[in-house]
Symmetry: C2
Subunit: 471 residues, 2 copies
């Protein structure tokens, strides 16, 4: 039996729509065009279109012809809806996400000068050592299946030792291996917090450029900073205890680079313990210090199991390993380990074995020393270029670690314009707005990824853009 | 200034509680005991306890003394609450989860005979080939950072070719690399489905032993099966289209082992396209056929982008790689790739490079042939033992692929009792109840993991338990 003609048209259009070739919102060909295409009368086309309309796939719109309104997937659940992106004020979220997406796309384009990437340059990748370690892992390999819920025990022992050297004394059973710091935040957001909880955080903050807590229905409550870190007296604890948590990057804060001083850390811990506000300490930049080692982590001062501590190999070694760790009270770690098993059954065995070899040998510390040395050189080059080319139109503080400079541009020139003009000239920078910097006059420049020459060239070109577009 | 005594007691108890040494629900030492411990009057102890009560950490309970009711973390959000585990009927969920947890814990105990594990034996792990591949990956290594959102392009090309040989013609841009099939399900549950959606699925089903869809607020709606697969005429589509999805394991269904025949696959696809029910096809066992290759996947018959297809290396090669794939219409894959980036910034580069080497060489197909051969031997041994020892008290069908036998025990003997007795004798089996098998008389036996001798010994011991506990 041959298919009726109208069914052929229906199937054709459904395929176009469901394969995404005819995107939602786009206009489909006219009835006359379709009739010609399939060699049928317009009445046959109309039968087909009516069935598609009844299915909710297309819709006639005055002045716009017939438009695709759904596909089988969106019919199921408006998949870009509030359910996932809810609870964040529409304006902020949309703005930051679209800019962040634009940056993400451009970041994989090698022709750009990347002054945006929060990642070490391939020049700083320890290729030979990594190859040696992978060879060693391969030689010592035994058949492997699923890992323990909290992660490979040898890796957790190595992390425990690594943390001990940084003032944190925890047993492997209080450590959860995660696929990077972001996964740790995700697990916390869906595993420990109530809908409508409040997350206190520094403002500006890297966290504003993500949607992890907002997607889980939490509100972000920004706290002002000074050059010693977040201002503790600015925390306004609502009456209902047990609904708030504080997220902080005390060492080399992203994006400002601010290093929280030791006295401030004590104040913060005292306040949070007294007010029973649990703390998430994001310490992924700790090892990237350049002048002096930073003060002890908050976690080292934690006598009450009040701090969830996050570390990672992504910023210091390679994000491609997808290995980080989350440290906290054992019942919390148990809970989050169970959750992680429900999401992905644990992290890659190979990555865990390689991470273990790095951390349990002296190779990691040697690598860090090299990176620190290179970062000092890169910082110097960036600061010299800033002084030379942007000294008259911008101000900044010297970062003591990590690879970000938080640059304030003279208000006579709009940063939004700078971002766009720079993009068109092949230079990628991160405007402060994605971190909810309100004044709108800051950019985050990274000297971690681009080459030395690119850093200088990029900053020079930023100055040219400002010069040529003034007034 | 010295801390007041009552504060010392408060801090001590808070630490005990927050470190989890004094678990929630447990009784704390008596006032007299604490007074003696700290060398203070009972009135000082009472001051301390009153403050802890005001904080909500402890509570006096009639007849039970003072009990721990919260810690800093639970105060924040009752973290084992409905929020995560909601929307599943309390009974089923709790029962299945506690049994599943017991099984999970026992599965990492090597002294047990594992007739439960849905995983290939270490005996079938291709150690030498894996070592060679890792060596090769190491030699060809270049500095690596984050991968593309959808996963390494070479791996996606290899998956595209692999799928083409199985009748599925998709481009790499319609493929998302995931950290195993479970992550694919998780992404679908939070990225595509509305709260209160209905997931149709075979009953019994492996999916009942997870809480992925229920946690996201979906209802599961079981469909009966016969020996040709799920019964299509049993699907009762509610009026509101676009809220339902169908999950199926057409090839070597878990736990029953049923292989959906080709005609049934056609019927199912026709029905789902007509009724606009998107389909999740979980095809992770496809390559483990023993007699004949299974019929084409549903996805191969999919002309409307109606099927989300899931595959994985976990069942055929090693779950420790954490590499699987999700195939679907490009806009859906784009959406889920963006989501995955928000959860974990992508899967491990090393695992992806190793997976690519397996799939793009002939090594994978050779490995599969070896595995199939070994599975045939294992199946035979299991069937012989079943016939010999359980022939008079149980029935089963011969599985055509994968490594599960779905055994029905004579109703005179309760499976719950068999599970417990077997556990006490060091044999782990999966009772049908965790897959929502209602009759309560089924067990799932796996011949994939234990050694040949263990398989025989385990089945013999099951028969002894039944014999000795009859009547």
């Amino acid at each position: 039996m041959k298919k009726p003609k109208y069914q052929i048209i229906i199937d054709f259009i459904k395929e176009k729509i469901s394969k995404g070739e005819w995107a939602i919102g786009s206009q489909i060909p006219s009835q006359r065009h379709l009739a010609r295409m399939f060699g049928v009368n317009r009445s046959t086309v109309i039968i087909a279109l009516e069935e598609l309309m009844a299915d909710g796939l297309i819709e006639g719109k005055a002045g716009k012809g017939t438009v695709v309104t759904n596909n089988t997937w969106t019919l199921m659940g408006d998949h870009l809806s509030t359910n996932w992106n809810g609870n964040v004020t529409q304006g902020i979220h949309k703005a930051s996400v679209s800019t962040v997406q634009e940056i993400n796309e451009t970041e994989s384009d090698n022709r750009f000068i990347q002054l945006s990437k929060g990642e070490l340059s391939p020049e700083l990748f320890p290729l030979e050592e990594m190859q040696d370690i992978i060879q060693k892992v391969s030689k010592q390999l035994t058949p492997f299946g699923y890992e323990e819920p909290k992660g490979n025990i040898k890796l957790r022992e190595a992390i425990s030792n690594y943390l001990k050297e940084r003032g944190i004394d925890v047993s492997p059973s209080s450590i959860l291996v995660v696929s990077g710091a972001l996964q740790a935040l995700y697990l916390i957001s869906i595993g420990l917090l109530k809908d409508k909880s409040t997350v206190f955080l520094e403002e500006p903050s890297y966290l504003y450029s993500l949607s992890v807590f907002q997607s889980a229905g939490m509100d972000l409550e920004g706290l002002p900073m000074d050059n010693k870190g977040v201002k503790v007296d600015s925390i306004y604890q609502t009456k209902e205890t047990g609904r708030n948590i504080l997220y902080t990057i005390p060492s080399f804060h992203n994006p400002t680079g601010i290093l929280m001083e030791d006295r401030r850390r004590e104040e913060l811990m005292e306040y949070c313990i007294r007010e029973q506000i649990p703390v998430i300490e994001d310490d992924v930049y700790r090892d990237l210090w350049m002048d002096n080692a930073p003060p002890e982590p908050l976690k080292a001062k934690d006598r009450h199991g009040n701090v969830l501590y996050i570390g990672s190999l992504s910023k210091t070694l390679s994000p491609g390993l997808r290995i980080g760790w989350l440290v906290g009270p054992e019942p919390v770690i148990d809970r989050l380990a169970d959750l992680k098993m429900q999401l992905d059954y644990g992290s890659s065995t190979l990555s865990q074995l390689v991470a273990e070899k790095w951390l349990s040998s002296s190779l990691y510390e040697h690598h860090i020393e090299k990176v620190q040395k290179q970062l000092r050189i890169r910082r110097q080059r960036a600061l010299e270029a800033l002084e030379k080319y942007l000294g008259s139109v911008a101000t900044w503080d010297v970062p003591k670690g990590s690879f970000f400079i938080w640059v304030k541009i003279n208000p006579a020139f709009k940063v939004k314009k700078l971002f766009e003009k720079a993009l068109s000239k092949g230079i990628l920078i991160n405007p402060g707005s994605i971190y909810k910097e309100k004044a709108g006059q800051f950019v985050r420049l990274s000297y971690g990824f681009a080459s030395l020459d690119e850093i200088e060239k990029g900053i020079f070109q930023l100055s040219e853009i400002i010069k040529n577009n003034k007034g």
